[in-house]
């Protein structure tokens, strides 16, 4: 019997998890000491990282609202992690009541937590699956149940692709998802990059090493490499930009310098 891609050999909470580390950056307590220890190590190199995460959340919120305003009512959030607050279903369902949201994560703890949070929300569900196997995501009962693939879907790949190594061919996975979704679907994406970091990349490399150590490699990609994920999509204005510059609702001068690291963008298929 082949082990499903998402199923770990066992749940080992002594191993740091990127979703719980993310929660810690966002001030949450859905984490264990190993996670906090790893997060603190990263922050030795990138002390402003929580601000990057916060900007990431703020971008996602604006992008979801934008999609809802554009008439999209179905959301597929892959790499959703542990929903601390301001989650896609909250944002989407407040902007567009009845919007359908399916979360996908390969961390069983994150999935279990999401299930607990979503209990009773009949328009949202979570799937234990892996971005590297899009066919498993698309064939899951939750997706089949909640998402009508003949109508446009907003696909969220927020802060996840930088955890997929080239060896696992993330471009193929993104292309497969694009082909499976109806015309008019959107790709909402953010990705880590050395570009825009307020410190030298050698120093940021220390943070990359920490992720390497916890066997969750962080792949920093260039703007061009990130732009390639939008192949087949028309970029929504203002294109692929630092997160605070994507359709800002307040003055970017208020933003922390760390918020400008990495790129964000939204694309739409014709």
């Amino acid at each position: 019997m082949e082990r499903p891609a998402w199923a770990p050999r066992s749940i080992d909470i002594s191993v740091p998890s990127v979703s719980r580390i993310y929660d810690f950056y966002l001030g949450g307590s859905h984490n264990f000491e190993v996670d906090r220890e790893a997060a603190r190590k990263v922050m030795e190199f990138l002390p402003g990282l929580p601000k990057t995460m916060q900007a990431n959340r703020a971008f996602m919120r604006r992008a979801v609202r934008y999609a809802a305003a554009e008439g999209i009512t179905q959301f597929l959030d892959i790499g959703s992690g542990i929903p601390t607050f301001g989650n896609v279903h909250e944002v989407a369902q407040s902007a567009s009541p009845g919007a359908r949201v399916v979360y996908v994560d390969h961390d069983p703890v994150a999935v279990a937590h999401s299930e607990a949070v979503l209990g009773g929300n009949s328009d949202a569900a979570v799937v234990a699956a892996d971005l590297r196997k899009p066919e498993e995501i698309l064939a899951s009962p939750q997706v089949l149940d909640l998402i009508d693939l003949n109508r446009p879907v907003a696909l969220l790949l927020v802060a996840i692709l930088h955890f997929v190594e080239d060896a696992d061919d993330p471009y193929r996975a993104v292309a497969e998802l694009r082909e499976a979704l109806a015309p008019g679907s959107m790709l909402i994406l953010t990705h880590a990059s050395y570009e825009g970091l307020p410190l030298p990349s050698e120093r940021a490399g220390g943070a990359v090493d920490v992720y390497q150590d916890i066997r969750n490699p962080l792949i920093m990609r260039s703007r061009d490499e990130i732009a390639r994920f939008f192949e087949g999509y028309d970029m929504v204005e203002p294109g692929l930009v630092p997160m605070p510059l994507w359709r800002p609702e307040s003055s970017p001068e208020d933003e922390d310098p760390y918020a400008f690291s990495g790129f964000a963008g939204v694309g739409r298929t014709a």
């Binding site: 929580p50 916060q54 299930e115």
Partner: protein, 710 residues
């Protein structure tokens, strides 16, 4: 919206200052303006509490808790909040109340707010810790369930598998075995679990078995596959196809060894049995021809200095025993002989095999077979000396042995065996009950004979035969009266071969009948040619030899008549020569065709007269008109003076022949003196080198002409 300097405007300014102070340390995804909008109601509650009389502490606590709910979970947010309240709350929201009193109240509000914040943060932290722990537990449950299902499936495979499976640690301690493996070892699983893999040595372990094992447990090899034997607890042997794989942990370190084994014991036994059956003779249990050839081939491919000796035994007269006593008795005799032979060849490098029927071989190999093979042959002859007792009869067994000995690396098995076979036949034709050593010349002759025999039929088709003629001369006047036709074979490789080289072979194969007919037809046609050319020299007679085989062939008379009629040659121009030995003991049936030919006018000559048992009394009843005296009589007359006794004998025969109305021809006349002597003794006709050697038909023509003009 109130006036900027009105109470509402001042409250808003306070909220703006507060949000600016705290926003940088929040984790909210709201913009600062949105965040400020969240703080405004909190600022209003603080402002009212500052001026109220009662329950002010509760309000402040609630505001502290609301701050946590707005995701200001970093304690720095509280510090900044308190700083902000301390500096600006009384200033912007105190109105014109007594300053000292307001400051004291603000202080109390801050204390209560800090307590509310701490309480809420603590609760939130605990709740989130609880929820993530629950999630981890739930996830563990899901995974454990999946693992359990997978484990259950694995266990089913493990237990239900037909192949044996065992898991051992890297020290070789067996941790787990499945039912199939236990059964292979004869039951009790406990006995296996306390064992160590390294105890499982077996004398038949291939040299690499334990080297591969060491490499595997050291992590240098992922798996290996070998054929291996094990001792079962009861001492019997278990043969397996064994595959051992290395199991590594998640970090890639060697952890366990997994062995899969397939019981091949029965298959192996079956193979051994099939192999035995394929290589042994069912009756005697001796190695058969196949195995013998394998061994012989191995011996012949031996290294330099290695030799071989081979005894090829064929029992003398075995067919008679089989025919008279039955096959069962024959078989028992063979078994007894096999046992005795087996006892003769017990040294290393020696073997005995049965090739089939009553043919056996004994092989010896090594550097010293020249001596050993003689001893081996002698031992075999000795072993056959004692009679074999079967069904109360004492049977004497004799055999003929062909012995071949030689160095390895020169000849192939087929050649060696053929030589042995030929030699054995030589021993047999020398009377049997003996052994002969192979001799290359004898082999060569036999081989040539064999080659000629097989080439005979095509030789006739291809016209490789031709006829030479030796004149028959009348002793009275020296004239040529006819000729004897002598067949020759112009062999493509061996050149011209005389009848002694191939007529016995043709007799043996039956080819003599068509060959004889061809000779007869060819000679008779030649006789007609002569008649046409030399009508003046009188009738020329042609003598043609008849072999015993032709004599008994039913077509003889008809063939002869047809040939004479077709060629238009008169019967009295033909003389058929038949050897005396062919007619010894001939009954009337055999003589009938000769009589009929004689009645037609064909002369019948008794050839080689005097060599066999010359039954003179018998001569009367034979349809014979000519006696051909054997050359042994003329040979004795080559000496001078001739032996008077010999002369008397010849004279007597001639007298007798003449009295029976037979003419006498002599062969082998080589000198004029001989010819004169024979003429005086009364012989009628002569042939021999003195007159002419056998030659082409034209030579005879010349002789006849010479004779006519002489």
């Amino acid at each position: 919206m109130g006036e900027p300097d009105g109470p509402e405007g001042r409250l808003r300014r306070f909220a703006t200052i507060w949000s600016r102070a705290v926003f940088p340390v929040t984790s909210t995804s709201l913009t600062r303006v949105e965040f400020e909008a969240q703080l405004l109601p909190l600022a209003r509650r603080l402002s009212e509490a500052l001026r109220a009389r009662n329950h002010t502490a509760d309000e402040a606590r609630a505001v502290g808790a609301a701050l946590v709910a707005a995701h200001c979970t970093d304690p720095e947010a509280l510090t900044r909040t308190l700083d902000c309240i301390d500096a600006y709350l009384v200033l912007y929201c105190g109105g014109d109340g007594p300053q000292e009193d307001l400051r004291a109240r603000s202080s109390r509000l801050q204390h209560a707010m800090a307590a509310g914040y701490a309480q809420a943060l603590r609760e939130r932290t605990l709740a989130e810790q609880e929820s993530i722990a629950q999630a981890a537990l739930a996830a563990q449950g899901v995974v454990a369930q999946a693992l359990h299902a997978s484990e259950a499936r694995f266990r089913a495979v493990f237990e239900g598998a037909a192949i044996g499976i065992s898991i051992a640690d890297l020290e070789g301690n067996i941790l787990q075995v499945n039912g199939a493996l236990s059964r292979m070892f004869g039951g009790a699983e406990q006995n296996l679990r306390s064992r160590n893999v390294t105890e499982w040595t077996h004398p038949e372990d291939a040299p690499q078995v334990w080297r591969l094992y060491e490499e595997l447990v050291r992590g240098e090899r992922e798996h290996y596959h070998v054929e291996k034997a094990f001792y079962r607890p009861d001492g019997t042997v278990l043969w397996t196809n064994l595959t051992v794989s290395l199991l590594r942990d998640a970090d890639g370190n060697p952890q366990y060894q997994l062995a899969l084994m397939e019981d091949t014991t029965e298959r192996r036994l079956l193979n051994l049995r099939l192999r035995y059956e394929a290589t042994h003779d069912a009756l005697t249990g001796l190695p058969n021809r196949t195995l013998f050839f394998e061994r012989l081939e191995k011996a012949l491919n031996g290294a330099e200095g290695q030799r071989f000796g081979l005894c090829y035994l064929d029992l003398d007269g075995f067919k008679t025993i089989n025919d008279s006593l039955g096959h069962a008795a024959g078989d028992r005799l063979l078994v007894e002989v096999a046992d005795r032979l087996q006892a003769c060849a017990t040294a290393p490098g020696e073997m005995v095999a049965r090739l089939g029927g009553d043919e056996f071989v004994a092989l010896t190999t090594g550097p010293d077979t020249e001596r050993e093979v003689d001893e081996l042959a002698a031992r075999i002859m000795n072993a056959l000396l004692a009679p074999v007792r079967i069904d109360g009869r004492e049977l004497t067994v004799r055999g003929s042995i062909g012995v071949v000995e030689g160095p390895a690396g020169e000849r192939g098995p087929a050649e060696v065996l053929r030589s042995a076979d030929i030699t054995m036949y030589r021993a047999k034709s020398a009377g049997g009950n003996r052994f002969e050593l192979a001799d290359e010349e004898a082999d060569a002759r036999a081989i040539t004979r064999h080659g000629l025999t097989t080439a005979l039929p095509t030789a006739l088709e291809r016209g490789e035969f031709f006829i030479e003629y030796q004149p028959l001369v009348h002793l009275g006047d020296g004239s040529v009266r006819g000729a004897e036709a002598l067949v020759r074979w112009l062999h493509p490789q061996h050149g011209v071969l005389g009848p002694d080289r191939f007529i016995p072979l043709a007799e043996h194969t039956g080819l003599i009948v068509p060959l004889g007919r061809w000779v007869l037809e060819e000679s008779v046609r030649q006789a007609r040619v002569w008649r046409e050319r030399h009508s003046d020299t009188g009738p020329m007679r042609i003598n043609v030899n008849l072999s015993p085989c032709q004599l008994s062939h039913p077509g003889l008379v008809q063939d002869t008549v047809e040939i004479l009629e077709r060629t238009g040659v008169r019967p009295d121009a033909l003389c058929l020569e038949v050897t005396e030995s062919a007619l010894i003991g001939a009954d009337d049936d055999l003589l009938k065709p000769l009589r009929r030919l004689a009645e037609m006018g064909v002369d019948i000559a008794l050839d080689d007269f005097g060599t066999g048992y010359s039954n003179l009394a018998n001569l009367r009843r034979l349809p014979v008109s000519v006696l051909k005296l054997d050359r042994s009589f003329t040979q004795s007359m080559q000496q001078f003076p001739a032996d008077p006794v010999d002369l008397k004998i010849v004279e007597g025969i001639v007298t007798l022949a003449h009295s029976l109305d037979l003419t006498v021809t002599v062969e082998g006349v080589e000198t004029g003196a001989q010819a004169e002597q024979l003429r005086i003794l009364g012989c009628d006709t002569a042939q021999g080198w003195y007159y002419a050697r056998p030659g082409p038909p034209d030579r005879l023509h010349e002789l006849a002409l010479v004779d006519a003009t002489a």
